[in-house]
Amino acid sequence: MSGIPMEHGLMVASALFAIGLAGLMVRRNLMFVLMSLEIMLNAAGLAFIVASTAWAEPHGQVMYLMVITLAAAEASVGLALVLQIYRHFRSLDVDAVSQLRG
């Protein structure tokens, strides 16, 4: 067991999550939006690892494997869509893409 208390680890994960969320809301470039999503997912992964280490249990690590799988799948579908969007709009700006109103 490491000497770092679980609370500290969870706080780091929370900070990471908040950074990702802020990026998601502030950034206008689609690539950065996708990267912010990755940061949020990794924050969740870190929290699972921290909790799993604190409980000395493998369940959280299994969940972490599922989280990175999800992040990879999310990134591949996201990048495929971004590629099509760039072909279509010649821009990666969120505001340029957003046309539906009402």
Partner: protein, 471 residues
């Protein structure tokens, strides 16, 4: 220890997955649209029949999944809705010039995800089912990638759904940090600040997927932009499955019934009912309007969640059936009028002007669906609303009662506006008659519309069946 492994209970799920693999291999070998559709329909129909035959008196369970009355009911609804979507997709996709077969593959994967989700009793299976359900939907919504609207819908759903998943996962991690368990019964063991924060985050994540009001902004755009069959799937099985799993969480995990969270949920329910209905008032696009209407309907359903008693499960069941039948009818009509898919879909209300004089049966079906969504007596929607109101009155939650009534009153206006447009005497755009459909498609929509009326006039069999399921 659990009884022998419930292999038979997993049968419908296995059948759906087998159909997905068959479609996948078929695509690799030779592209045949009708054959892919047939495999999909046969697979879903087989799964539906098997699920109907399954209902055993005592429930089976594994560490990850539980097969009880609630999951049986939800699985039937999921399979039935997917079947309707698959049948209508065939007509819709006939006019599509790009690859068509993958749509069925995605549909089957989404159905499999929903089946896992409604039966999950462990955070891992919850997460797995939710992602298996959401991931194909990104592809389906962006399926017509030549159209900028479809692309936009796919991307918006991807970003917001992924953000929702991140919230959900972080919440799960915090709950796990507090309790050291991932199964629903283990989560019940402990309360604490981390668990409470985790529960809140999980509610945010699931709220995104259900488009509860502060997290509803994506809904109208995605509904409007996506191809109609994809929107139909999103409005039916995705929402149903997420709601069912949320209901299970509220029933089984005490942290979800915390006083403060419950009050917060009640507030969100009121907000969702009012805002959803108010925003729908000014819509001139039928798909957007249905999007806002679905927001409002899930506001009504939240009432059952807030009260969370045993009777609330039955209420939610009745409401979900009535919502599903009416929504499928409405989207079915939109699909048939947009089929075969061309440059633009028949979603603007202008296209529906005088529909009665061109396609009287479809206009009648849409009228019935709108009446039901508005909750007019003698349609299914009335029974659902009645149950919700009875539940709220019984629990003496007068604010919720007031919000349901106010929401329904506002809703009446825009549903009636659609109906009036149908019967106006001006033929707008004659090319929008949506010709070339098979008689079978019209029959499906008409059967659904008939079901709306039958459920409204004679609800006893459905209600008895729901009450007889063991939760």
């Amino acid at each position: 220890m659990p009884a022998p492994l419930p292999l038979l209970s997993l049968g419908p799920f296995a059948l759906v997955c087998a159909a997905a693999v068959t479609v996948l291999l078929g695509i690799a070998w030779q592209r045949m649209h009708t054959v892919s559709a047939l495999v999909t329909i046969v697979g879903l129909l087989g799964a539906l029949v098997l699920q109907l035959a399954l209902q055993t008196p005592d429930s089976a369970e594994t560490p990850l999944l539980v097969f009880d009355g609630l999951s049986h009911f939800a699985a039937l609804m999921v399979l039935g809705s997917s079947l309707v979507v698959a049948l209508l997709s065939h007509t819709y996709l006939r006019g599509y010039t790009g690859p068509r077969e993958e749509f069925y593959l995605l549909l089957l994967c989404a159905a499999a995800g929903a089946l896992i989700l409604v039966a999950s009793q462990h955070l891992a299976s919850l997460f797995f089912g939710l992602e298996l359900l959401s991931m194909p939907l990104y592809g389906m919504l962006a399926y017509r990638f030549q159209s900028s609207h479809s692309l936009e819908a796919g991307l918006k759903y991807l970003i917001l759904s992924a953000a929702g998943s991140a919230f959900l996962l972080f919440g799960m991690a915090l709950l796990y940090a507090q309790t050291g368990a991932l199964d629903f019964t283990g989560l019940a063991s402990e309360m604490g600040p981390w668990a409470l924060a985790g529960t809140g985050l999980m509610l945010v994540g699931l709220g995104f997927k259900l488009s509860i009001v502060p997290f509803h902004l994506w809904t109208p755009d995605v509904y409007q932009g996506g191809p109609v069959p994809a929107t139909m799937l999103l409005a039916s099985i995705s929402k149903l499955a997420v709601f069912v799993v949320l209901l299970r969480l509220v029933l089984e995990v005490p942290t979800f019934r915390d006083e403060a969270l419950s009050a917060l949920l009640a507030g969100l329910a009121i907000l969702t009912m009012i805002v959803g209905n108010l925003l729908a008032l000014r819509q001139s696009d039928l798909k957007r309007l249905l999007g806002y209407s679905s927001i409002a309907h899930f506001g009504y359903l939240l009432v059952a969640l807030v009260i969370g008693s045993r009777f609330a499960v039955e209420t939610a069941g009745v409401y979900l059936i009535t919502y599903l039948v009416a929504t499928l009818t409405a989207f079915g009509v939109v699909t048939l009028l947009s089929s075969p898919c061309r440059t633009e879909e028949a979603s603007n209300l202008e296209h529906y002007r005088g529909l009665f004089w061109r396609r009287p049966w479809l206009a009648a079906a849409l009228t019935v669906a709108m009446l039901s969504l508005a909750g007019i007596p003698f349609t299914a929607g009335f029974i659902g609303k009645f149950y919700i109101l009875a539940l709220a009155v019984d629990a003496q939650r007068w604010w919720l009662v007031a919000a349901v009534i106010a929401g329904s009153a506002i809703g009446l206006y825009y549903y009636l506006r659609v109906m009036v447009a149908l019967f106006l005497r001006e033929a707008a755009d004659a090319s929008r008659a949506g010709r070339g459909g098979h008689w079978l498609n019209d029959t499906i929509v008409l059967v659904l519309a008939l079901l709306v009326i039958v459920l409204g006039v004679w609800p006893a069999p459905a209600v008895d069946w729901l009450a007889g399921l063991n939760y």
